[in-house]
C-alpha cells in the first residue's frame, strides 16, 4: 500500500470516496422518496430539522430586533414631535371618515338583508411575526413565529393589511411555520378581476411584475390598472382579498390573455401577517320578512381563542345590485370547491 509520513494515502482516499458515494446515494434516496409523496420519513426529518433551526432563528430574530429596537425606539426618534402632531390630525380626520364608512356599511347591510343576499363575514385571523426568509434565492418562502401549538395548519391562508401574502406549506413545527409567498414560482391562487368578474389563476413568476394571471379568455375585456382579487374557488384563500393590480395585459397567441400583475404587498419588508384560522363563515339567507330595524351592525365572528376578527384588508366591494352577473370565465383549472354564492344574484 502507498504510504507517506501521515499514513496510508490510498486508504484515506478510498474511505473518502466511499463516504462521498454513500452521501450522494443517501441524498438521492431522500429526494426520490419525496418526489412521489411529500409524506413519510423525509417529512419527519424535515419537520424536526425545521423545528430545531426555527428556534435558533427565533432567538437570532429576537436579538436582531432588540438591537434595532434600541436604535429605532430611542436614538432615531429625535425631532419627531412635528410628525406626531401631523399624524394626530390625520387620525382625527380618519376617525370622522370611519364613522361615515360605518354608517354606509350599516346601510349596505340593511340593503343586503332586504335583497335577501347571502353575505360573508370577516374570517377569524391570528397575527404572526415574520422572523426569517428563505435561505435559497430560488424560493420565496418566509418563516413565521406561530406553529402547530398555536393552531397553525398546512394550507392556511396568510394575509397582510395590504392583501394576500401566501399560504402555509409543509407540516408546521410547534412554534414556527413556513409560508409560501404568492410570488413563489410554485404558488397559485384562484383569482377574479374585480371590474368585470373574469376569472383565472394567479401564479408566481419571475421578473419585474412577479405575478401572472392565467386562463383569462382573450374575449374578456382587461386593461392595466384593474384590481385582481381572490375568487375563493381554490379552497385556500377567502374570497374578495386584494392580490394586486394588472400592469400589462396582452392578447395571447392561444385562447388566453397574457396578464402581468403587480402585487399590492411589498414582500421584501413583511413584518406582521395574519393567518386565516377558520373558513370564511357565511351567514344564512335571512327570513323573507326581516325587518330593517332589527339589523345589527357588522359583528366580529371570531370565536377561536387567541384569535381576532379584525380584518385589515377591505373585502371586495360588491357590485351594484343592477350590475350584470360576472361574465363566464375561461375554463377554470382550480375549481375543487363549488363557486361561492356571495355575489349578488340577479
Amino acid at each position: 500500500m502507498l504510504q507517506n509520513d501521515r499514513g496510508p494515502v490510498l486508504e484515506f482516499q478510498k474511505r473518502t470516496g466511499y463516504l462521498l458515494v454513500a452521501a450522494l446515494l443517501g441524498h438521492l434516496l431522500l429526494i426520490s422518496s419525496q418526489v412521489s409523496s411529500r409524506q413519510g420519513p423525509s417529512s419527519v426529518l424535515e419537520t424536526a430539522l425545521f423545528g430545531t433551526l426555527a428556534r435558533v432563528q427565533a432567538l437570532t430574530s429576537w436579538v436582531t430586533q432588540s438591537a434595532s429596537g434600541v436604535w429605532g425606539n430611542y436614538v432615531a426618534l429625535r425631532g419627531l414631535r412635528t410628525q406626531a402632531e401631523q399624524l394626530q390630525q390625520q387620525l382625527d380626520r380618519m376617525g370622522v371618515e370611519l364613522q361615515h364608512a360605518n354608517a354606509q356599511a350599516r346601510r349596505a347591510e340593511q340593503l343586503e338583508l332586504l335583497l335577501q343576499l347571502k353575505r360573508t363575514e370577516l374570517p377569524a385571523t391570528m397575527a404572526a411575526r415574520v422572523m426569517a426568509a428563505d435561505p435559497a434565492a430560488d424560493f420565496r418562502t418566509v418563516t413565521i413565529d406561530k406553529g402547530s401549538a398555536d393552531g397553525v395548519r398546512r394550507d392556511m391562508a396568510v394575509l397582510s393589511p395590504l392583501g394576500v401574502v401566501g399560504r402555509v406549506i409543509d407540516e408546521p413545527a410547534s412554534h414556527a411555520a413556513k409560508v409560501q409567498l404568492i410570488i413563489d414560482r410554485n404558488a397559485g391562487a384562484g383569482a377574479v378581476i374585480d371590474r368585470n368578474g373574469a376569472g383565472g389563476v394567479v401564479v408566481g413568476g419571475e421578473g419585474d411584475a412577479p405575478l401572472r394571471m392565467e386562463y383569462v379568455s382573450n374575449l374578456a375585456e382587461v386593461s392595466p390598472g384593474d384590481l385582481v382579487m381572490t375568487s375563493g374557488l381554490d379552497g385556500i384563500y377567502p374570497r374578495g382579498y386584494v392580490i394586486g393590480r394588472i400592469e400589462k395585459a396582452e392578447r395571447g397567441s392561444g385562447q388566453y390573455r397574457q396578464i402581468l400583475i403587480r402585487p399590492r404587498v411589498d414582500f421584501s419588508s413583511l413584518d406582521t401577517v395574519l393567518l386565516v384560522t377558520g373558513p370564511q363563515p357565511e351567514r344564512a339567507t335571512p327570513p323573507a320578512g326581516a325587518n330593517s330595524s332589527t339589523v345589527s351592525p357588522t359583528t366580529n365572528p371570531a370565536t377561536t381563542p387567541g384569535t381576532t376578527a379584525a380584518n385589515p384588508v377591505a373585502p371586495a366591494a360588491s357590485r351594484p345590485a343592477g350590475a350584470p352577473s360576472p361574465a363566464p370565465a375561461a375554463p377554470r383549472p382550480v375549481s375543487p370547491v363549488p363557486p361561492a354564492t356571495t355575489g349578488p344574484t340577479p
Partner: protein, 174 residues
C-alpha cells in the same frame, strides 16, 4: 473536536445571517450564498472529508428551512465540499486569485447541480437564472476571499497588535 465545533458554528452563523439578520436588515440577501461560502471555506482549510460532511449538514439545514425538496441543496453542497477539498489538496490556492477562482467555480458547480436536480424533479424546473448565478458567484468569491484571509491573517494581526501595545506600554513606563 474544535474543528467540528468551529465548522458547525460557522454554518449556523451563516444560516442565521442569511435568513434572519439579512432579511431583517436588507430585506433579502438574494445575491449571496453565505452557507456555500462556509462549506467551500471548510473544504479549503480542512480537506475533502470535512468539506463533504459540512456540505451535507449545511445543505440539509438549508433545505429544511427553505421551501424546496429536502436533499437537493444537500447533494449539491456535498459535491461542492468534496470537489473544493480535492482542489485544495491538489493545487496551491492560498493566494487571492486562485482562491477567488475556487469560490467562483464552486458557486457555478453548486448552481448547475441545484438547477439540474430541479429540472429532473419538477416539470418546469427553476429555469436558467444565469445572470443571477454570475452575480452570486462574483459576490461569493469576493466574500469568500475576504473571509478566509481574515481567518488566516486575523489571529496573527491581533497578536502583533497586542505585542505592539505591550511594547509601547513598556516604553512609556520607562
Amino acid at each position: 473536536m474544535s474543528r467540528v465545533a468551529l465548522a458547525a458554528a460557522a454554518i449556523l452563523a451563516a444560516l442565521m445571517l442569511q435568513t434572519v439578520v439579512g432579511y431583517q436588515i436588507f430585506g433579502r440577501l438574494i445575491g449571496i450564498d453565505l452557507v456555500l461560502v462556509v462549506v467551500v471555506g471548510t473544504a479549503l482549510f480542512y480537506g475533502p472529508t470535512a468539506g463533504m460532511v459540512s456540505g451535507t449538514i449545511a445543505g440539509l439545514c438549508q433545505d429544511a428551512l427553505s421551501g424546496g425538496v429536502l436533499g437537493v441543496a444537500g447533494l449539491a453542497k456535498t459535491l461542492v465540499g468534496f470537489v473544493a477539498g480535492v482542489v485544495a489538496t491538489q493545487f496551491i490556492v492560498s493566494s487571492i486569485i486562485p482562491r477567488g477562482v475556487v469560490f467562483f467555480a464552486m458557486t457555478w458547480l453548486h448552481g448547475i447541480c441545484f438547477l439540474g436536480l430541479y429540472a429532473m424533479i419538477e416539470r418546469h424546473g427553476i429555469g436558467r437564472p444565469w445572470r443571477q448565478l454570475l452575480v452570486q458567484s462574483l459576490l461569493n468569491a469576493a466574500i469568500g476571499v475576504v473571509a478566509t484571509r481574515m481567518i488566516e491573517r486575523g489571529p496573527e494581526w491581533w497578536r502583533r497588535r497586542q505585542y505592539g501595545r505591550r511594547a509601547e506600554g513598556r516604553r512609556l513606563a520607562r
